[in-house]
Amino acid sequence: MTGFNPLDYVNSSDFLSTAPELLLVGVGLLILMLDLFLPAKRRELIVQVTVMGLLLSLAIVWIGWPDSQSEAFSGMLVVDGYSQFIKMVVLLGALLVVFISGRYLRNEGIYVAEFYELLLFSSVGMMVMASGANLLTIYLGLELMSLPLYVLAAFLRANRRSTEAGLKYFLLGGFSSALLLYGISLIYGLTGTTNLMALQHSLASLPVSPPLLVAMVLLVAGFGFKVSAVPFHLWTPDVYMGAPTPVVAFMSVGTKAAAIAAFARLMVVSFGGLQSSVWASMLIVLAVGSMVLGNVVAVVQNNVKRMLAYSAIGHGGYLLVGLIASMKPGSVVGLPDGLTSLLFYLFGYLFANIGAFAVVIYLGREGQHESYEDYSGLAQTRPWLAAVMMIFLLSLTGIPPTIGFVGKFYIFAAAIGSGYTVLALIGLLTSTISLYYYMGLGMYMYMRPPVERHVFYPTRGLTISLIVCAVATVLFGILPQTWVHLAQSGVLQLWH
């Protein structure tokens, strides 16, 4: 019997191409160690180490931007422009969240080291999902992303709303990943493989049979939960309201980006022909439901975090429109295809959404000062804060000259290009509805007299991230070309 040497199955290029993830894992473990040995007053070092780790990882992603697709670890992971773009979004999101959470954590008495460490591990999970080229790695990435998030959602142990949010997120999250897993097991049973490229060959000869349909429905349910698409959105408002605000900011962007990236890769690479039209018709139901329900229910909300939760459901719907458009060839001449617009939309959503949550943190502690009334007269007491919030709201609505407008424009154009004109029209209509509630908040800030209280919680980190988000939202709204090209080249690499 010959000896088994695991080193025969890996080589150094595997470690090089997964360096951003490995680095973050290392930093996470380092933080755990530092926490043991550092005196309490040197805790700031942990934040600095986290920031350095994220920046370094981002730099590695940036420097090693690939020109073509390459495999790592025997095809379990792939590295291409597409995965790197998502990793960039995730890392930027994590970085901004670290900046906005400093003072917040101290105010709420949250223990620092564990918070940052879980944030890092969750980011690694998202990055693995973005790179996953096998249903196994996608599943493991999904769990690595979700498990820390369950803990983070329940992080304020003494706060009843937070533990409640944690439990709801955990139970529904576990349920949805069980659904996803059953779908994967059926696919494996039908085809005998879980590798996305190999699936493409085996699925091409497979008719759309009932077991395959069940598997597809289960996969949609599992991913739909993470993207908070209707009808799998039930957890979203509760978790967004109860979980600590920085955590919500992080997961609203990161989870969506990673889940939709993995899902898109699975659908675009592995499924074709009749199967993709079955996918499309399932996703159309989800997309229309999310856009309509998210935006309509957001109108009647009076809590800013809850409003942002419903708006997140609506944005999940727009992302799905981009995905649906990418499954049919054809686009309006000169404009990006569905998948490229999806990536760009995520990039824009990152700044606008995290910015909006940063304003929520600026305004009040957990569970306080979150209603619309608390924003009354903000334009008089804090003109800059109100102006910045206005930029984010405009971007979320999709009004020029913000990045949100460009993203929505591309997505709807791609939908029209692939022949989904009705879907684009519904998107436009629901964006109009969203104008009502986003600008409703704007009305409170600009038209109402100021409220009596107004203790603010400014920090340097918050100010920096607010400026970065606002500048990015406007600047890339006017000059989106660089990022569109980057996304486009990434999408082209998906098919080698």
Binding site: L136, Y139, L140, E143, L147, Y150, V151, A154, R157, A158, N159, R160, R161, T163, E164, A165, G166, L167, K168, F170, L171, G174, F175, A178, L179, L181, Y182, I184, S185, L186, Y188, G189, G192, T193, T194, L234, P237, D238, M241, G242
Partner: protein
């Protein structure tokens, strides 16, 4: 005489449905959680049966990792349930009314 592949699939589908119905019907957080574990085990059964049917090891490998993740999930889930019990004095999901469910 061996048990045909279809029977395994039927059994695992049955287990999965029992688990899923349990998640939707039960109100005790721990029971809910056990139902989720039942669903995961149904998945494992499918993988093992399929791997044997196909004469491969990939499915068995998948099962190992699912068990691993489930163990991590138990650790986290139970701690969250303990935290809930400390703050709410109940693990009944119907008592969690602070946020609109």
């Amino acid at each position: 005489m061996t048990v045909p592949f279809g029977w395994y699939l039927f059994l695992s589908a049955l287990l999965f449905v029992i688990g899923a119905v349990g998640v939707l019907r039960r109100r005790n957080a721990i029971l809910l959680f056990m139902c989720i574990e039942l669903m995961l085990n149904a998945v494992n059964l499918t993988f093992v049966a399929a791997a044997r049917h196909l004469g491969q090891l990939d499915g068995q490998l998948f099962v190992f990792l699912v068990i691993l993740v489930a163990a991590a999930e138990v650790a986290i889930g139970l701690s969250i349930i303990i935290a809930i019990y400390k703050s709410h004095r109940s693990v009944d999901v119907d008592d969690l009314k602070l946020l609109k469910w």
